[in-house]
Amino acid sequence: MDILRISDLRIGFTVHGLAREVVKGVSLRVPAGKTVALVGESGSGKSVISQAIMGLLPRAGAVTDGEILFRDPLSPRSVVDIAALPPEGEGIRELRGGRIGMIFQEPMSSLSPVHTIGNQIEEALLLHRPMPKASARGLIEAMLKRVGFKNPQRAFDMYAFELSGGLRQRAMLAMALICQPALLIADEPTTALDVTIQAQVLDLMRELQAEMGMAILLITHDLGVVANMADEVVVIFHGEIMERGPVEDIFRHPRHPYLKALLNASPHFDMQEGERLVALREARPRPVATAPAPKPTADAAPLLAVRNLQKTYVTGSRGFFGKGSLTTIKAVDNVSFDIRRGECLGLVGESGCGKTTVSKIIMRAITANAGEVIFDDGRERVDVLGLEGEALRAFRPRIQMIFQDPVSSLSPRMTVMNILREPLTIHDRGETAEQTDRVKALMQDVGLDTRFLNRYPHSFSGGQRQRIGIARALALDPDLIICDEPVSALDVSVQAQILNLLKDLQAERGLTFLFISHNLAVVNYMADRIAVMANGRIVELAPRHTLFTRPVHPYTKALLRSVPFADLDRKLDFKLAAPGGASDDSHWGEAFRTGQDASALTHLPLGDGHYVLARPNADVREMVP
């Protein structure tokens, strides 16, 4: 029996008097108790379909044709056409939350910050199943316990901002499932979460599905998640369905070129040395560089040497006279690493591990408590943290940064010309005419048309904006570029373009990258060596290949285990994920745990530039698999 049957659905949007069809005759079905994945890039119309099922289309949009038939397993004889229901009427409101639950991508913003978790769940419950508050509370606490809250009584009265991202998404699940719906719509439910937390939340969804027998419509762009979760797959592109079928068929015999291209565009762990990602749509061709940059010699001094970096933050309630319970958080704890000239060093870790803090210290955006950063380009040695005033200003062009969010990192009130010229003006590079020429050359370097120079950032797509950000970072010919999650806000296909662009630029100019990311597959594609950070410390550092084939530290292992592969033969082992997250060191082996004395851990060399953070007396031979 199909819970949901959508046939020939068409949805149109009217913006500024212009009608545009975003969903063009989509048909799909969701069988009872099964998971159907709806896969596509942003703008493909997948979220609009989910909004239409909930009757929550934005005001500008409307279903123009087709039907959305919902058959409730509790009353299988009656079929409701959701597309025909009035959008704010009684009928659709009964289904919403009652028979169809929904969870969203951003667990922070989907919960109200000023109401307790319990209050928000209770509202959903009492709306559809009126009952005394006391028994409601009992049901809700049982549900909170079921989704993994250790202390449901306490969680009931907590606010969303007091919870971590993973717990917030669990609270959302509890809210969506409290009325035991027949269908759960999950719109990118784990995209904003770390890999280990993602594995836990996906696991929870599967368990709850098995218990409650509901169907799941899973909307995602991550083929790894699809391979691990879905029974059936529907691939959508520009509002049209490209391919659909059981997950086995889709992954083993992809027929449609779009799906094949999608599979080729996502970085994965089995890529050959030197293999390139194939972007869905090749970007504008770039002029070929005249001569490749000379390969750096390996024995030269490192371009950047970071030693014993420390940064602590003090949080907690501060009394008026500075008293009160203060906690010191070590954001960066004794971090040391080298970046060799011309290499790409990957820095991996879950959110909150301190990787961005390290980059900000190197950029001199925040001040470290202790440690030193030595920059050595072969001609001079600079103590970066000791620079002041004019010397610091003169040094700044040497290290530049590419940011995560291509929207907020470009001023909306400046043209591309002004954005790219600003660094040149600040550092007095050349006359106006020279600067203009330089800006044009930069645009070509990153594969953008020079005719775009007078446009404002809003008229560009996310990928194009990120190119502008890259051009800006290149403007001053830096030696080192810090890339802070440069592709995590982009679609798979655009991500492939940007990663390829960065690789090409590096090869042509001999650039050195510090590449920060939480996405292991991306780091695997980009980096020569990888440093893994947890709880403010670097727990393992190794050449790329070594790290992925012979990880030693339990944290690295947990991270690698939690990455979902777009491969049906290597499904995630959900049970291996540690309940408190991978960075909870109580699950690490004795040899890796901080003892009484925090300084007891050191970086043990395992050969070939492979280091792991462990007790000095730990047996090295035992650790290497």
């Binding site: 909930m54 009964e94 000023v114 203060l326």
Partner: protein, 333 residues
């Protein structure tokens, strides 16, 4: 937790008031000379012979031969004991001159705030939920007029039309026979009859500003994911609107209390002159012109005190309403 927060807010008021008092004192003393020199100059200009020895005596009597810092401390010490000083011009203690007028000022200000809220709230909600409708455009247009027209001009227009159409004079806050009378029911009723005109005039600008701000705020909140979540639970639209976005945009409403007080009070001063209201406005402006130091200073201090209290109230209300302000930064995490 909450009690400590409130205590902290109250303690922060002290340095604020100290700085304000120093600023007020300095600014009043900035122009050349003092009240007595201005008086002497005025008398000489009118051809009268100024009694210089008397003026010297007065200067000594009021401590004007002392350095300003010392006078400042005398003034502050007096204020702390509830002594607002002595007005040179009226030759009476400040408290006597100001007393009744302060009460009227407070009534006008309070009524204006309430008026602002009552009008701005529903209009703001309507505009936000009916964005780009004719109603929204019309109200926006009215609001922009309210923002753009200066208070005194609005007052003059009101007076003109009230005279032309109804043949009444709308000046003053009470009918003339109640002036300088103790408060009574009859006087109170007369006050209410007169109150609405200055309240509308003074409140027009603030109301328009608040409608704009509330509309913008609410439009932002309506885009937020949690509002979609609320509707995805099956809440009826009205209830979802009231419980989530409206509640969030209240934050701004409340934190605006502190901002709105000074602007209402200063706007009221000008309107009070045009409409010849018996509030403190005309008095204050005259006192500043003649450098009647203690009258002007004590008076401004009192207004600052009111403002700081307003901010305190809004801070406390915010903490009660928004758990993020109450709980964030707490060590329990």
């Amino acid at each position: 937790m909450l009690i400590r927060y409130i205590l902290k807010r109250i303690l922060i008021m002290i340095p604020t008031l100290v700085v304000t008092s120093a600023l007020i004192f300095t600014v009043i003393n900035l122009p050349e000379g003092d009240y007595f020199e201005t008086l002497a100059a005025e008398m000489q200009a009118q051809g009268e012979k100024a009694d210089m020895s008397r003026i010297e005596f007065l200067k000594q009597e009021y401590g004007f031969d002392r350095p300003p810092v010392e006078r400042y401390f005398w003034w502050v010490a007096g204020l702390l004991q509830g002594d607002m000083g002595y007005s040179f011009e009226y030759q009476r203690p400040v408290r006597e001159i100001v007393g009744d007028r302060l009460l009227l000022t407070m009534i006008v200000s309070f009524a204006t705030i309430v008026f602002t809220w009552i009008v701005a709230f529903p209009i703001g909600i309507y505009s936000a939920t009916h964005q780009y409708s004719w109603g929204d455009y019309g109200l926006t247009f009215l609001g922009l007029i309210g923002l753009a027209v200066p208070h005194f001009l609005l007052a003059l227009v009101f007076m003109y039309f009230a005279n032309i159409w109804f043949g009444i004079s709308i000046g003053g806050l009470v009918d003339p026979q109640y002036l300088n009378q103790p408060m009574s029911w009859a006087k109170f009723r007369s006050l209410l009859e007169h109150l609405w005109i200055p309240v509308i005039i003074i409140g027009a600008g603030g109301t328009a500003g608040m409608i704009r701000a509330l509309r913008a705020n609410l439009l932002d909140e309506l885009q937020k994911q949690y509002y979609v979540t609320a509707r995805a639970k099956g809440l009826p639209p009205g209830k979802a609107l009231r419980k989530y976005p409206l509640r969030m945009s209240l934050n701004f409403f409340i934190s605006d209390i502190g901002d709105i007080l000074p602007s209402i009070v200063s706007g009221a001063e000008v309107v009070a002159i045009v409409l010849s209201l018996q509030t403190t406005g005309p008095l204050l402006i005259r006192a500043l012109q003649s450098q009647d130091m203690y009258l002007a200073g004590s008076f401004l201090m009192f207004l600052s005190f009111l403002t700081v209290i307003g901010v305190l109230i809004s801070d406390i209300a915010l903490a009660l309403l928004d758990p993020r302000i109450r709980l964030q930064g707490a060590a329990t995490k």
